[in-house]
């Protein structure tokens, strides 16, 4: 079965299509669950709990990009936008929740000279509403941008740089104080989470566990998706969109649907990320950060869900460690890593085990 499937599709798709059972993804899901259980049973040092939670949030973000880049061939250099939408709505919820509980207005609202939270914050103190709003907003933005782009067949490098311009525009907007979401300083000083004080023991652990569980769910769900008939259509669209369209499939609808789904997963990552770092500011909208997401995916292994997770955790783990240990060297290491992966390991670090010692450019000459 798996062999037949592989010959039916262009060979470049590699292991991603091999089987519905993917030992790597299964292992990672298991690892997530095990880590969550370990955190609950024997919580380690708080900073470690926090780091695990943040890494898991980044892994979710990487999976969301891998879905569109690895499986649809759409490289978004603007995924930070959706991450930021989730993050900002989450921060708004936390602040609104704090205002509802304590009555003290956040700093930036006082700074702007407002007497109360603006009207569009209404209802954001309800967690469920904020959650739905974050996902819906990300989905909506993705839908509008995706519809416009995919319908006029903007793809490839064009789509990448236009999505980069989009996130850049959003960054400029959010840097203005007048936009009203904290401007340059962003939003911070969240007092409460579901009624618990932010600093209470167990809150960090709870967040990390929730993020790990979300990562496991996203991984499993994405695995089911790419293993389904729809997933095979995604690969077909990536490898030859014209042919798929000629066969009668609406590639616009396919791309649009997955694109919106990916945006919502990125927003989910943002929602989980913000309470763990305790701040959101326009720097998450910097084009560089959005490129870095693509770098995680490329380093881990493009077009394999496990690769995205491994890449995100590896790069960010290195970053946590090295940007403290030798901050000067980190950018050099990162750029070297990217060049190495791009030139020698076109499918990312997952190529390492089966690396043949013939450089890719010799093989590519065929």
């Amino acid at each position: 079965m798996s062999g037949a499937l592989q010959t039916a599709l262009p060979s470049s798709t590699g292991p991603a299509t091999r089987a519905l059972r993917d030992p790597l993804v299964a292992g990672l899901v298991g690892l997530c669950l095990a880590a969550a259980a370990a955190l609950l049973v024997a919580p380690p040092a708080p900073y470690l709990v926090n780091a695990v939670g943040q890494l898991a949030a980044f892994a979710i973000l990487a999976v969301s990009l891998d879905l569109v880049w690895g499986y649809l061939g759409i490289l978004s250099l603007g995924h930070g936008l959706f991450f930021a939408i989730g993050g900002y709505v989450c921060a708004m919820h936390l602040l609104a929740h704090g205002v509802a509980a304590t009555g003290v207005l956040p700093d930036f609202v006082q700074f702007m000279g407002w007497k109360s939270l603006p009207a569009y914050w209404a209802g954001l103190d309800h967690a469920a509403y904020a959650f739905v709003l974050a996902l819906a907003l990300a989905g909506l933005v993705a839908f509008v941008f995706g519809l416009a782009s995919f319908r006029s067949r903007v793809n490839g490098v064009y789509f990448s740089i236009i999505s980069q311009a989009l996130v850049y525009v959003a960054m400029l907007l959010m840097y203005r104080n007048d936009t009203g979401l904290g401007g340059n300083n962003g939003m911070t000083g969240f007092p409460l989470l579901f009624g618990w004080p932010m600093g209470a023991p167990g809150v960090a652990t709870g967040l990390a566990v929730a993020t790990l569980l979300a990562l496991a769910a996203v991984l499993a769900g994405a695995r089911l998706l790419v293993g389904s008939a729809l997933g095979r259509r995604m690969l077909a669209c990536r490898d030859d969109e014209t042919r798929l369209r000629t066969l009668g499939y609406s590639t616009t609808r396919l791309k649009l649907g997955i694109w919106c789904l990916s945006a919502m997963i990125a927003a989910l990552a943002g929602i989980l990320y913000v309470p763990q770092v305790g701040i959101i500011n326009p720097r998450v909208l910097a084009p560089d950060l959005s490129i870095e997401i693509a770098v995680w995916v490329a380093i881990g292994g493009l077009g394999r869900l496990g690769g995205a997770v491994i890449g995100a955790i590896l790069v960010n783990g290195l970053k946590f460690w090295l940007s403290a240990a030798m901050p000067e060297a980190w950018p050099f290491i990162l750029s070297g890593l990217v060049l190495l992966v791009v030139l020698v390991l076109p499918n990312g670090l997952l190529d390492l085990p089966g690396l043949r010692l013939r450089p890719t450019w010799l093989r590519a000459a065929r």
Binding site: I161, Y168, Y175, R176, P287, E328
Partner: protein, 545 residues
């Protein structure tokens, strides 16, 4: 006590003298009666004021040496170095010195037991004004003259027109001359003489500027505006004329700023457009290539400073070939080491060039530092010339515009008239066919990449006089210049030019209405929307794949 009782009468006398002086002295241009002046300064309070004010009134016509001597006397009086003996005033070197020089004859005379006059507030003000006139007319350097002017500004109504006219005509410093002229106009506008006021309104209206408009607009609140129809008509006509001229000048300034912004965008985007058109590679390191060009310029400047300080002004010109060559070399190396392997994977080349940009930024950061570089500004890129109303043509922006125009012409010549250009155009249009015809497409790629990178280096040179140069400067251009390339149409230099003009103009037009950030946002959103309708951009090169 006696002195105080007599003061009103003396004041009337002084006023009479003053009026007489007003009428008589400018017409006759008589030299200063030094003895009388010295005696006045040694006289009572009213005489001192009379002497000082007489000097102010006569200042426009007095010979320079008389003014200088009067200035010395006034200075000595203010600093209590003027001693009054029975034989006349004596100038001391320091307060209380036993002897000094005679105020009129300069002969050395003892000054023991002499009286040093003490100044009251009123005398002090009059003497300050007189000293201001002397400083303005005879000050040795612009700073001294400007200080004198600053003193006069507070009491401008007491300063006669002739003094300001003489100061303006004699002034060598252009900026100070402008200030003096402005002050003279302000004085004339508020003068009690209606004819002089009307003349001043005409003069103000003849050289329009924002300040002239504000000056005329305040006259609308003047009582004479309601009372005197001729005055009102003159103010209204002058205001209308000035407003029109200022609007035109502002419009010209917008066009000029838009043009200079567009030329910078064009310089940043031209190389990108060639590379993208030829190879489909988005070079995310283009901004860093611009930064390298600026740093190469800095290097050339330092070399000049070290070995040929006399020729320092020429470093910008000398930097042009250096920056082009250096950055082109970097580009060729990047192409040969990295991009060559990625032509079939354009998305990966995006990441690879991003890694290159990260590397270059941090390399410069570590080796040179993060601070802004200091550039010596040669005369040909500093200052500007006021052209019309408030519109000033600044040389640094003109330099950028001229530079961009020259680059455009040169690049077009290379693309249209050289064998390399022919090759580049052939490969851009149909890579496979060009290869079949025997073109070494890979070598063309490499040279074109070098050309595109070199253009970025040139942009770096043009930016030095305008922008602050630091390792992170490249990231500011990258999104804008991509948008210009995409909007213009891939591989079309003319399209890039038109798109740069459009984006630059739109940015500058929207900026005054809704702020710089909003302008950028509106322009970028506009481009994104436009590309939904025409994904291939304004000028698409016809090509086969």
């Amino acid at each position: 006590m006696a002195d105080r009782r007599r003061r009103p009468r003396r004041a009337v006398l002084a006023l009479g003298c003053l009026a007489l002086a007003c009428l008589a002295i400018p017409a006759r241009a008589a030299p200063l009666d030094r003895a009388a002046f010295a005696a006045a300064l040694c006289g009572d309070a009213a005489a001192q004021v009379r002497g000082a004010e007489g000097l102010v009134q006569a200042g426009g016509a007095l010979p320079a040496d008389d003014l200088a001597r009067a200035g010395r006397l006034l200075g000595a009086l203010a600093e209590r170095r003027l001693s009054c003996t029975a034989e006349g005033a004596v100038l001391l070197d320091r307060p209380g010195a036993p002897e000094g020089r005679d105020a009129v004859t300069d002969a050395v005379r003892p000054a023991a037991e002499a009286r040093a006059p003490v100044l009251g507030l009123r005398q002090r003000a009059a003497i300050e004004t007189a000293r201001g006139v002397v400083a303005l007319l005879t000050g040795p350097d612009p700073a001294a003259r400007a200080a004198g002017l600053a003193v006069l500004e507070r009491r401008i109504a007491a300063v006669p027109e002739a003094v300001l006219d003489r100061a303006r005509d004699a002034e060598t410093d252009a900026a100070l001359r402008g200030t003096i002229a402005g002050l003279a106009q302000a004085a004339a506008l508020s003068s009690p003489d209606p004819a002089r006021r009307l003349g001043a309104i005409g003069a103000v209206a003849a050289s329009p500027s924002g300040t002239a408009r504000a000056r005329l607009a305040t006259l609308k609140g003047d009582p004479a505006y309601a009372a005197d129809p001729a005055f009102r008509a003159a103010v209204d006509a002058g205001l209308a004329k000035v407003s029109r001229a200022v609007a035109i000048g502002d419009g010209l300034a917008v066009v000029y700023n838009g043009l200079s912004f567009a030329s910078i965008l064009f310089m940043a985007a031209a190389g990108l457009a060639i590379i993208f058109g030829l190879m489909g590679v988005i070079n995310l390191a283009q901004g860093e290539f611009i930064m390298l060009g600026a740093y190469a310029t800095y290097g050339v400047q330092e070399v000049f400073r070290q070995f040929a300080p006399a020729l320092l002004d020429l470093y910008l010109v000398a930097a042009i070939p250096v920056a082009f060559g250096a950055v082109a070399l970097v580009g060729i190396v990047v192409e040969a080491l990295i991009l060559r392997h990625l032509y079939r994977r354009p998305l990966m080349s995006l990441l690879a060039t991003w890694a290159v940009s990260l590397f270059l930024v941090n390399l410069i950061r570590v080796t040179v530092g993060t601070q802004n570089l200091q550039f010596a500004m040669p005369a040909y890129v500093s200052g500007g010339v006021p052209l019309y109303a408030d519109f000033v043509v600044t040389w640094n922006r003109l330099f950028a515009i001229g530079f961009a125009a020259a680059t455009l012409v040169l690049t077009l010549l290379i693309l249209r008239r050289t064998p390399l250009g022919l090759d580049i155009r052939a490969v851009t249009q149909n890579r496979d066919m060009a290869a079949c015809l025997g073109l070494p497409t890979r070598r063309v790629d490499r040279l074109a990449f070098g050309l595109g990178s070199g253009l970025a280096g040139l942009a770096g040179v043009a930016l030095c006089p305008i922008y602050s140069v630091n390792p992170g400067m490249g990231s500011g251009f990258i999104v804008d210049s991509f948008m210009v390339v995409v909007l213009g149409g891939v591989g079309s230099l003319i399209g890039t030019l038109v798109a740069a003009l459009g984006v630059g103009g739109a940015n500058v037009l929207i900026e005054p209405i809704s702020g710089a950030v909003a302008a950028k946002v509106i322009v970028l959103v506009g481009i994104i929307l436009f590309l939904q309708r025409r994904p291939e951009g304004l000028f698409a090169v016809r090509r086969r794949r």
